[in-house]
């Protein structure tokens, strides 16, 4: 099977998977009890009434209608696209900042083993701190920053939170990558009397690419999650996360509306991962593995 053929087949099969999922939704809705299924007092299958599980066509139909009744209100799908693009921009900044910080941390940890031992457990710990605890701090302290014409905007707080999530996979992946060169290559560099920096540039960084790329993609996904949560948390307006909460507020009386921004978030995640994958194309050369035979 040729490569292009494989790609389009994959898309086809993925589509079939999605269609089966959608069919399950409607199928369960048609057949399942309206009050859901409980086992040992715990609901294990959802309720099937129109408010809990709107019909798929109701969601699509709702997405085509305007957001609200005010004049000039755009259709939901258009608003969702706008919000998603907005979030994508913020997340991209967070991702870039987080990636740079992650890479620098990894280089530091690679350079100093003590730093690795001291810092790494705290990196894991840092990811267990709920964003709820950090968001107000970041917003409050960001608000104090004002240097010349530069002043802190709310979106920057969101980007910082996105970076806080994105840096972690990058730092860890990059560290693994930087440590990945074979002994033989390291000794070769030593025999050339190449110093730490030269070894970093010529050997460690290129060798880390196969680890770095998936880490960057993971970072992109984390940055999106961070952006979505931080938008809700900090009240940043215009993004998809904020839209999810806003639309969820009308979940009582307009349930189908809430699904549009969620679909938007799904697409957003895929787009972000895709963009990073594109980045990987330029670095393909470094993905070569030495075959030992």
């Amino acid at each position: 099977m040729t490569r292009a053929g494989g790609r389009s087949y994959a898309v086809l099969w993925g589509l079939i998977g999605v269609i089966i999922l959608l069919a399950l939704w409607e199928g369960y809705k048609a057949l399942g009890p309206s009050s859901g299924v409980e086992l040992f007092g715990q609901g294990i299958l959802p309720k099937t009434d129109d408010r809990s599980m709107p019909h798929l066509w109701a969601m699509v139909q709702r997405a085509a209608e305007p957001v609200n009744s005010s004049a000039g209100s755009p259709p939901v799908w258009l608003a969702v696209i706008g919000a998603a693009l907005n979030s994508l921009g913020v997340a991209a900044v967070g991702w870039a900042v987080g990636s740079v910080i992650g890479l620098l941390l990894a280089i530091l940890m690679q350079r100093l083993r003590v730093a690795e031992r001291a810092v790494l457990p705290w990196l894991i710990l840092s990811q267990t701190v709920p964003l709820i605890a950090l968001a107000p701090l970041i917003v409050a302290w960001g608000g104090k920053i004002q240097i010349g014409a530069f002043s802190w905007d709310r979106w920057m707080s969101v980007a910082v939170i996105a970076a806080y999530l994105a840096f972690f996979p990058v730092a860890v992946g990059a560290l693994r990558g930087l440590q990945s060169p074979d002994t033989i290559h390291l000794e070769l560099m030593r025999s050339y009397d190449a110093g730490w920096f030269k070894t970093l540039v010529r050997l460690r960084l290129p060798a880390s690419v196969p680890y770095l790329l998936p880490a960057l993609r993971l970072g992109a996904a984390s940055a999106i999650v961070g952006t979505v949560v931080a938008e809700v948390s900090t009240g940043y307006k215009g993004g998809i996360g904020r839209m999810i909460v806003e639309f969820a507020q009308s979940g009582t009386s307009d349930p189908a509306k809430a699904y549009a921004p969620i679909a938007g978030a799904v697409v957003l995640g895929l787009v972000a991962a895709g963009l990073v994958a594109l980045l990987g194309l330029g670095l393909k050369r470094f993905n070569r593995q030495e075959v030992s035979s």
Partner: protein, 287 residues
């Protein structure tokens, strides 16, 4: 070929000119102890005395774990001797490494997978600030030398194992070192490729006039290539004998040498030194 000389223990100076220039390698009473878990130690090398003259080809042979690689690594300053002295061209091993006095090739080629054949060969030059134009010229020379002209811009994973080895050897030669250190460079090759590579190594050494320290498991290979074969024994690693392989006048290291009775005598001598057994009947000893 006239006679086969076996020095029972210590490695004396070779026939080469030791008065004119400093020896390529001069190791005096060197030892290496590795600390392992819980205070235990491994005595990898002990009482090593060895001198290698400029332009001389010396092989190290011995059973697995006898310290061949360790000895090579001491010379290359990839490990430090626990005792004794290791001089390379009259300087400390460390200084020699910093001055880039040697080129090294490992058992596996160790090419950087993301660099083309040419870029791999250029790597040491690039690291030492040689200009682009000069690098290219030198790399082309070397590529021709190892017979990979058509493969210049290929990547390592597109080469066969033997080709990769040749690139590694070219890389080791890039800076025209006066000393070449090779740790079982042909270990992974099949018999025929291996014999071809041996031929090429002989040719390259003749052309560049470099001294070589060559680690191998194969007796015929050691004898075929070397001026002297250093035989080692394990735990702790010591030199148990040095076999001279003097070429008679007019004899050169070609395929025909392998069928020369003198060659065969040297093989037997190495085999004996290695097995520590009394001599077996000459003329029937192989591998």
């Amino acid at each position: 070929m006239t006679e086969t000389n076996v020095h029972p223990a210590a490695g004396g100076a070779s026939a080469g000119g030791s008065a004119l220039a400093p020896a390529a390698i001069s190791i005096t009473n060197a030892g290496k102890v590795f600390a392992v878990a819980k205070g235990a130690e491994v005595r990898a090398l002990e009482n090593i005395d060895l001198t290698v003259s400029p332009g001389e080809f010396v092989s190290l042979i011995g059973p697995s774990g006898c310290g061949k690689s360790t000895l090579l690594r001491l010379i290359a300053d990839l490990d430090e001797a626990s005792s004794g002295e290791v001089l390379v061209f009259g300087k400390s091993a460390r200084q020699a490494r910093i001055d880039q006095e040697y080129g090294i090739a490992f058992q596996s080629a160790g090419l950087l997978p993301w660099r083309s054949v040419q870029a791999n060969i250029e790597l040491p030059l690039e690291l030492h600030g040689v200009g682009k134009a000069e690098r290219t010229t030198r790399a082309e020379e070397l590529i021709e030398l190892v017979g990979l002209t058509d493969f210049r811009s290929r990547f390592p994973d597109q080469l066969s194992g033997g080709m990769q080895q040749r690139v590694a050897i070219a890389r080791a030669l890039a800076e025209r070192p006066k000393l070449l250190l090779m740790d079982e460079p042909f270990g992974a090759l099949d018999e025929m490729t291996r014999e071809r590579m041996q031929q090429e190594l002989v040719r390259i050494c003749a052309e560049t006039g470099a001294a070589v320290v060559f680690v191998t498991h194969s007796i015929p290979e050691a004898v075929f290539l070397s001026d002297r074969v250093v035989v080692m024994s394990p735990r702790p690693g010591r030199i148990v004998g040095i076999v001279d392989v003097p070429l008679g006048p007019g004899t050169s290291r070609t395929e025909a040498l392998r069928e020369n009775p003198g060659f065969f005598t040297a093989v037997t001598a190495v085999r004996e030194a290695l097995h520590g057994s009394p001599a077996v009947p000459a003329g029937a000893d192989l591998r």
